[in-house]
Point group: C3
Chain length 268, copies 3
């Protein structure tokens, strides 16, 4: 079901249709996620004001909500945007950055998750654990952050919200009600660049804008992230996390079906 | 009138006088426009608070107002900064990012344009069309976005506000009451990097800070953008939109009179 | 006391302990400082809301307060974060970006400095001069900005607040109650990249999170900045300020004891 042909079909659709991805995201990752969306073939737009987000959702192909740098006016705008996207049937991609770190993040997750709910939730193991705990409130944040615990948390989120959930890490796990897909692509330099998790979330939105199956969209986005990372690390110009940022964007832009077909390591 | 000698004179003046460009701009492009201003030889400063912008205009050589990521407090600060710049006789460079996309953007343009009016307005064809429609309010957004339509819109803006207007694209058109200048420089990778339009606007401000003729300042900035883009694309290190960002800044920094003279394709 | 062995010990401690550096910093430098902290081996987190900063300080190893793009809600959050960090005994690193340029910046410095006071203050000569003048209020901003004047200003800040003060420039001067350390590393391209001063401040925080001696922590951070800059400039891929940003991050990530030992030019 998830193979290089199906993913390539989505990439081709993104390049052809150039979906507008409305991102309410954090200050740190705005520039790099916009560039990644452009490199993939999509069109980024950022808008965060309460009196603008609904109009922007109106013309967008997908909505990203990323809680990396929160404040109350942004939270109110996120809620409005999510509700509008829900009414329009637009894919909503949620990134619980730093879940578990503060009450504000936990409460925001607690408020925003039911108001969609999101089509796709993507985070690392501790963010997925904390999001599931937020969802259940009384259970508190799990003390262990192993992949197994995160898979249980992901299942709870799938169960409660009907969302597709992606736990990103060395192996990415993507779950919906019936399936678990694993993506084994990626490179150790990736966590040394800020905002690549946010970039993964943005790419999920681009894929979801052209593919109505959230599991396939998320798997495609995560595979493309990992494969672009592998290609980037092999560039003769990649000497560390600085140059990796650059070779990563180039790899995303230059990605061919041959690269994808040769490198994809998906399991479902 | 616009030739490599006149543009080089402006570049030399920027490098010598290091004008302070006060930018009230969007979150996405802040870092890249600051770096482009530094590479050109100017000095960037960002300040957006209602209780700070007038003081900053006081010490600046030019003001950039870019509506890429709006909210009400920023709009109020933009208005204050524009009025202060007007009183000081400071060049005001306006970038109507995403004009036409939302009511908030259209209303902001409608409010801000008359309060200067701007010395220079720079946008792509649809932004110039939407700005002209905003200005006229009752006419609505034009349905077609061809260059010809944008030229009519630009003329309307020139007529209404006395601004110099630049429609950027494959060919850049720069208009004032009496002239149309065309710049035929640039490279197809440029729209694949986020914020290069915002960068063009910032460079217009640096040129306007040293050249009292807005038409010449805008033509110089657009020519330098396009030529730096061409040089960047020819670097052996340019492999896509990631590395293009880097080779572009290097090209801007290393730009010589010979490059400018050899590559300039201006028509007036 | 400050030598390559002691600095290497701090770098090794940062890489091993991965301290969380909570940064309330400006929009322009968020992405680049986050990437520099990651390249050094620390973990960056950005949070700026009044109802979040105290919780974030609770789990951080150091706090950065950088006034580069101010507004009232951010100032209130900075004050709360500083007071919380003080109660926790957490190192507070203060960067008075653009001090002297506006009343808002001067007043903010005047309010924030005593509320810590900061463990470390880092700025260029005019920022240190203006901060000292802000501290004394009635004296006004000194008219000359020579290094000597800045050293007198730095001494006044050390005296008033007990902070360690760093004047960064071609030579970095680092002062506490009893010592002056000079770092003679660095490269002329560094001021051509936006936010490298902010990056220096962020690295001071990472060092202070693992070394309880603020003078040694600051000297280590400034030495590492300068040496990474020298290494970056010597890369075959460095052709200007664009590529310098990239080779700088790579140099920071790849820094070895041998590089440090060979290149360190400290005087105390």
């Amino acid at each position: 079901m998830i193979n290089s042909e199906s993913i390539w079909q989505d990439i081709s659709a993104i390049r052809e249709k150039v979906p507008l991805v409305h991102s309410i995201t954090n200050y740190v990752a705005m520039n790099s996620t916009a560039n990644a969306l452009l490199a993939l073939g999509a069109s980024p737009v950022m808008a965060h004001a309460e009196n603008e987000v609904e109009d922007m959702v109106e013309i967008a192909g997908a909505l990203v909500v990323n809680i990396g740098t929160l404040s109350d006016p942004w939270i109110r705008a996120m809620k409005l945007a999510i509700e509008k996207a829900k009414n329009k049937g637009l894919p909503i991609i949620f990134d619980p950055v730093g879940a578990g770190a503060t009450e504000l993040r936990n409460n925001t997750i607690y408020v925003l998750l039911p108001s969609g709910p999101p089509t796709i939730i993507r985070g690392n193991a501790s963010e997925i654990n904390a999001s599931a705990a937020s969802a259940a409130k009384t259970r508190g944040v799990d003390s262990t952050e192993s992949s197994e615990t995160a898979i249980e948390s992901a299942k709870r989120l799938v169960q409660t919200y009907g969302s597709t959930v992606c736990i990103s890490g060395e192996v990415d796990y993507i779950l919906d009600q019936e399936n678990i897909v694993e993506i084994h692509n990626g490179h150790p330099l990736m966590p040394k660049v800020t905002g690549l998790g946010c970039t993964a979330t943005a790419l999920c939105a681009a894929f979801a804008a052209v593919n109505p199956n959230p599991l396939a969209a998320t798997a495609g986005a995560m595979a493309v992230m990992g494969i672009a990372g592998e290609l980037a690390s092999k560039s003769e110009y990649c000497k560390g996390p600085g140059s990796f940022q650059i070779t990563f964007l180039d790899a995303l832009y230059n990605l061919s079906f041959e690269d994808l077909h040769e490198k994809l390591r998906a399991k479902s």
